[in-house]
């Protein structure tokens, strides 16, 4: 993978973090919003080499920590775990959109669940909110719905880029 493509992937994750922190200022249906960062990490990692992919997850998480209100490292840890698992399981979902959408749902649940767990461990007391299970599930549902539109697009872009490279090499 070329450095320009890596920079492009990084720019997309940064854009996801910026949109995540600005798009849902006044719109959170039923108290939840889709997790654009998990979606971006998932969409990009399906086609990225493993090591830059893990770094991408970590960087996206760290940026979310820096722009959020939680202790540094909580999102970084959650998204590193998500990135690692996506890399381990991506071959099974590469050709099936249904499985990929299911994967987005499961990984969003995982990322949010880990975040709540870490928050509890580090004294942020997120479990004082009795609506936590509902928020986690709704966030995963919204992200999966968005994934139905985003994932085919990312697959198509990746195919186009691969074809261009093949043509150049030929």
């Amino acid at each position: 993978m070329t450095s320009s493509r890596l920079l492009g992937a990084l720019a997309l994750v940064v854009a996801a973090v910026v949109l995540q922190t600005t798009l849902f200022v006044s719109t959170r249906p039923f108290g939840a919003a889709p997790d654009l960062i998990v979606l971006a990490v998932f969409a990009l990692l399906r086609f990225m080499p493993a090591e830059p992919g893990i770094f991408l997850g970590f960087t996206g998480g760290l940026l979310a920590d820096l722009l959020g209100g939680s202790p540094l490292g909580m999102w970084a840890l959650s998204l590193t775990v998500v990135a690692y698992l996506v890399l381990r399981m991506r071959d099974r979902a590469r050709d099936s959109s249904g499985l990929a959408v299911l994967g987005v749902f499961a990984f969003t649940l995982l990322a949010q669940g880990q975040y709540v767990l870490l928050g509890t461990l580090f004294g942020q007391q997120p479990l004082k909110d009795p609506n936590v299970p509902r928020i986690i599930i709704l966030t995963a549902v919204f992200t999966a719905i968005l994934a139905v539109a985003v994932l085919p697009m990312s697959s198509w872009l990746s195919r186009q880029s691969r074809n261009r490279r093949t043509r150049v090499l030929a």
């Binding site: 949109l19 200022v25 719109t27 090591e51 999102w75 690692y84 007391q125 609506n131």
Partner: protein, 299 residues
Amino acid sequence: MLRSRPDRTTVLFITLVVFSFMLTTYDVQTAQVGSIGSALRSSAEFVFSPVQKAASAITRPVVGFVDGVANLASLRDENDQLRSQLALVEQELADSESLQAELEALRSLNNIVGPAEIDTVTARIFAVAPSGFDNVRGIDRGSSDGIGVGMPVVDESGLIGRVDVVFADSARVRLISDPTVRVGVRVLRTNETGWVSGRGTAPLALEMFEPELAVAEGDKVVTEGGRFPAGLIVGTVREGARSEAGFALRTTVDPIVVFSQLDFVKVLIETGQDEFIEAVPEEEGPPVQLQETPPGESP
């Protein structure tokens, strides 16, 4: 016997997980004293806050339009409800005018500065935390506008939170719905004190120790003083409750502010505690604090 070694990806993964965990531990432990964490946050804010402000300015009209269309039916109902509420409020306003005059007279007698007399800075919310569990908002005014850490943030309804972190041109507000925030309060009808603490998206928890009177549904709860100026509306009691002898009274309070619909807010330019409670003029003696420090906020 050969033992399989973890591949490079797994080693990198474990390294990053351990690093993240250590980073969180370090940040939690040094949160109060200023650290590498705050320096990193300031740098990130410096780079990203202009981008966030631009993104917010671009997406706000689109999101507003979509939101408006999606909520058309409920807006009509809300409009009808507001009309009937307006009639009631007009009646209450007429009743409260005489009380207001009485209050002003008492304030001037005691040299107390009310919230209305404090300088304010109006700011717009341009960012939220990435997670629904972080009860913070980014505002587009910072230390260059006189905003400092700990200053109360309100809107026309009542208390929203306090300034948590300040940068040159932006600041972060921690909402009173955050589970780590506690506010000393007074129930207006009974005049008894306690505190409310945040529970995220759920109503605030009200706790009062050995109160003599019960609280009733709809009772107004206001700030008691201390870190927040006294008299700011926090919310209304959701469910009536009374305490058994020797036990605390626990119930819930609906915040007066709908946190998901905030747009413009006001930062009260005061630093809390004694500065807010101005006392006797100098020639009459040293400043006197009018109230005991209430159960304020936990860190």
